[in-house]
């Protein structure tokens, strides 16, 4: 029958099934008796690539094409020829009025992305559909059936939802830098979207063998299960999946073989879990973390839910890593800030115009100005003109050649005090390597330099004094060993003079070369003559003599004492000497050495070195005059010197 062939021909596998079906026993009757209107409509339907179906007759018997057959999955071909109320029983309540509209009113019904809650094979799930139902007129003009075309848009709708959730998550999470707050927001948002009893984020520590549930969002009466759990309790095969990064899907705890071990199932019981979906995060060949959904009823997790959990996991992991890195950075920034604040070194940052952008307290202290009066000002204000030329040149050098410059710089404090800083400075760069400023670490070496200068002067001074002392010794030697003198006598005189000179130095060293009192000096120079009885009366006020005056006076008194012991008052048992001094007119030192009771005095024909030295040395070193007179009672030596030269401290 070419006619029959033609209306089923090209209709694919389902057409063949329709041809082979025993229609005689159905209300549709033998296929040969089908009205032309049904044949035409079915022919269109079978040739369509869109899922298309015919619902014919009073019971809306179900005929469909290949595309619809694949939507039916295992309910095909058993659904063929069945009444609509049976094959669409789970949604018949929704669809029946729509069938009526089409059949009774001959009106088309069109729906776009409409929600149909399906219940198939014991599982309830949301599905979205776009469909149209069109009336097909039969030969008598009444509506014989319905031509339906349907498309399952669930996947598109769900993807849209997931995208929307990911966008919301991203918007929210990226603004949060606190780890706990971030996790709380994340699990709450995912839990709300999925409408499950518990969404939680956990971290795995395979070394320690524990899983820590950091945060949970609960609903449907489930409890928060945050805390630490040993990994082995979760069962071996589940551990393997976690380790390998495979999603764990438990739809019905009671039927899941992986949870058959009572020791494993106990953990799920304790947490009130009937079904679970777990997405692990694997990094560095280890399971690091996981996002899980727990529910207190069995649940056939949809592809959408799994995809959603996967995407959410990835995003939470990423944002959490970011937040932790930020926290670590803040921590290290705080640490460096403390070092910056407490450093004794001078730390400063500036922009490329040499405007100071930050300083540490050490800089503020050195400049003698508060921080806020320094920041925002040019480096120029705090260095010499030459110093600024130098920093400008250094900056140019760094911009052109990179690296660090090291230089000495004169820095001027607010008070005008000039410091010398040793400065190390480097450019700071943005993430593309472009210079954006400079930072400098400096040390104030003013004191060190001053100390070095002092040291240098001291060494020079020491050298000078040593040479001077050698020259003095040379003088003493030359004078002591003048031609014609008895060698033994000369040698003794020389030794005594050296000893007197050494004693003067000793005393000055003891006094730190700041001078010595006249009484001390007198004692040092002539004290030995008083060893057995007091032959020299020493008397006068306390006066500190300058070092030079002190050395000179000791030498002079030594010569006087030696002369007195040899030829003068101290050479006779009854002879005495008075050594006295006073301050006259508040500004002059008057000192007198007066001998009496010695042998008859005669002035020596040729004045010896001793007297020459006394007169000359005292005159020059004390800037005064010394006069030796040979009076009948004994020798008298008078010294008159300005106090300012001899005893500057007393004068001041």
């Amino acid at each position: 029958m070419p006619e029959l062939r033609s209306f089923l021909s090209g209709g694919g596998d389902t057409a063949e099934l329709i041809r082979a079906h025993d229609w005689a026993s159905t209300p549709l009757g033998d296929i040969g008796s089908w009205p032309q209107s049904l044949r035409s409509a079915l022919s269109i339907c079978l040739r369509s690539a869109t899922p298309s179906a015919i619902f014919w007759g009073a019971d809306h018997l179900f005929l469909y094409n290949d595309a619809w057959a694949s939507m039916l999955a295992d309910r095909h071909p058993s659904s063929l020829g069945m009444p609509a109320r049976k094959v669409l029983s789970d949604i018949w309540q929704t669809l029946q009025p729509q069938f009526r509209t089409v059949v009774d009113k001959a009106e088309a019904v069109n729906r776009v992305d409409t929600l149909l809650v399906r219940n198939l094979g014991g599982a309830t799930f949301d599905s979205y559909w776009s469909y149209s139902m069109l009336p097909v007129a039969s030969e008598d003009g009444t509506i014989g059936g319905v031509l339906a075309q349907a498309r399952n848009t669930t996947e598109r709708i769900m993807r849209g939802r997931r995208d929307a959730l990911m966008l919301r998550l991203s918007d929210r999470l990226r603004l949060i830098s606190d780890e706990d707050e971030l996790l709380a927001a994340a699990v709450e948002m995912v839990g709300e979207e999925m409408d499950v009893g518990r969404i939680g984020y956990a971290e795995a520590n395979e070394e320690r063998g524990v899983i820590s549930i950091l945060r949970c969002a609960v609903r449907h009466g489930m409890s928060d299960s945050s805390g630490e759990f040993p990994i082995p309790k979760f069962g071996d095969s589940i551990n393997d999946d976690l380790h390998a990064g495979r999603v764990i899907r438990i739809e019905d705890k009671a039927k899941d073989k992986r949870l058959a071990d009572p020791g494993v199932r106990w953990r799920y019981d304790a947490m009130g879990v009937e079904s679970a979906l777990v997405v692990p995060v694997v990094s560095g060949a280890r399971c690091q973390a996981m996002l899980f959904a727990h529910h207190n009823e069995t649940r056939a997790w949809t592809a959408h839910e799994e995809a959603l959990l996967r995407q959410a996991t990835e995003q939470i992991w990423r944002e959490l890593s970011r937040a932790r890195a930020e926290t670590a950075l803040r921590g290290s920034e705080q640490r460096y800030r403390r070092i910056f604040e407490q450093a004794h070194d001078l730390i400063l940052t500036a922009d490329l115009d040499q405007i100071i952008t930050d300083i540490n307290p050490a800089v503020a202290a050195a400049i003698e100005a508060p921080r806020e009066e320094i920041i925002g000002r040019s480096i120029r204000e705090f260095v010499s003109e030459r110093g600024f030329e130098q920093t400008t040149r250094m900056l140019r050098e760094k911009v052109e050649q990179g690296g660090t410059t090291h230089h000495g710089l004169d820095v001027v404090a607010r008070s005008g005090r000039v410091m010398h800083w040793e400065v190390n400075s480097t450019l700071t760069r943005d993430k593309d390597g472009r210079p954006i400023g400079l930072h400098a670490i400096a040390r104030d070496v003013t004191e060190r330099r001053r100390a070095e200068e002092r040291q240098r002067l001291l060494v020079n001074e020491l050298n000078h004094r040593v040479k001077n002392t050698l020259a003095l010794v040379q003088g003493l030697a030359l004078q002591s060993f003048k031609q014609g003198r008895d060698l033994d006598e000369a040698r003794a005189a020389f030794q005594d003079r050296l000893a007197a000179l050494a004693a003067a130095h000793d005393m000055l060293t003891r006094e730190n070369w700041e001078g010595a009192t006249l009484a001390q000096l007198a004692q040092e120079a002539v004290g030995h003559h008083n060893a057995r009885e007091e032959r020299i009366m020493i008397e006068g006020p306390d006066l500190v003599l300058s070092p030079k005056a002190a050395v000179s006076l000791v030498m002079a008194l030594h010569e006087l004492g030696t002369n007195a012991a040899k030829y003068g008052a101290l050479s006779a048992p009854s002879g005495r000497v008075t050594l006295g001094w006073r301050v006259a007119d508040g500004e002059r030192l008057r000192l007198e050495w007066r001998e009496r009771g010695g042998p008859a005095v005669t002035a020596p024909g040729q004045r010896g070195f001793g007297f020459r030295m006394i007169e000359r040395a005292l005159a020059s070193d004390l800037a005064g005059s010394a006069r030796i007179a040979f009076e009948p009672e004994g020798l008298v030596c008078g010294i008159d010197a300005p106090l300012a030269e001899a005893a500057p401290r007393a004068a001041a």
């Binding site: 020259a471 040379q474 030359l478 070193d621």
Partner: protein, 121 residues
């Protein structure tokens, strides 16, 4: 060049050293025109004149004697620097001024003064 009777002004703050220099100069055959023991005395002595050549200590009681040297150059009197600081401390502008270091050696002193007198013509 005869040294006999040439008059030397000694500028030296240390009396014993000055006396040593005096003795040495006299031994060589000079006449000591005077001894100035301080900067002020030295300036006064230079102005007074009555000497042919000066032996000038670079450091007078801690005061540099350069102004004295300057004055001596101005009036065209030759001079010799004396110092305890080694050969340093003469200053660039006096590079050509003879220098004797303390303690003195009589030969060095004689050579330096001869040189100074020779330079002045």
């Amino acid at each position: 060049m005869s040294l006999e009777g040439r008059r030397v002004l000694i500028v030296e703050d240390e009396a014993i050293i000055a006396m040593t220099a005096e003795d040495m100069l006299e031994q060589i055959g000079f006449t000591v025109a005077g001894v100035a023991a301080s900067f002020a005395e030295a300036m006064a002595a230079v102005e007074r004149g009555g000497f042919d050549v000066a032996l000038l200590d670079i450091n007078l009681n801690g005061v540099a004697s350069h102004p004295v040297a300057e004055r001596l150059q101005e009036i065209g009197k030759p001079f010799v620097f004396a110092t305890g600081y080694g050969s340093a401390g003469r200053g660039g502008e006096y590079e050509n001024v003879p220098l004797v270091t303390k303690p003195y050696r009589i030969a060095a002193l004689e050579a330096a003064i001869k040189l100074a007198l020779g330079q002045s013509g």
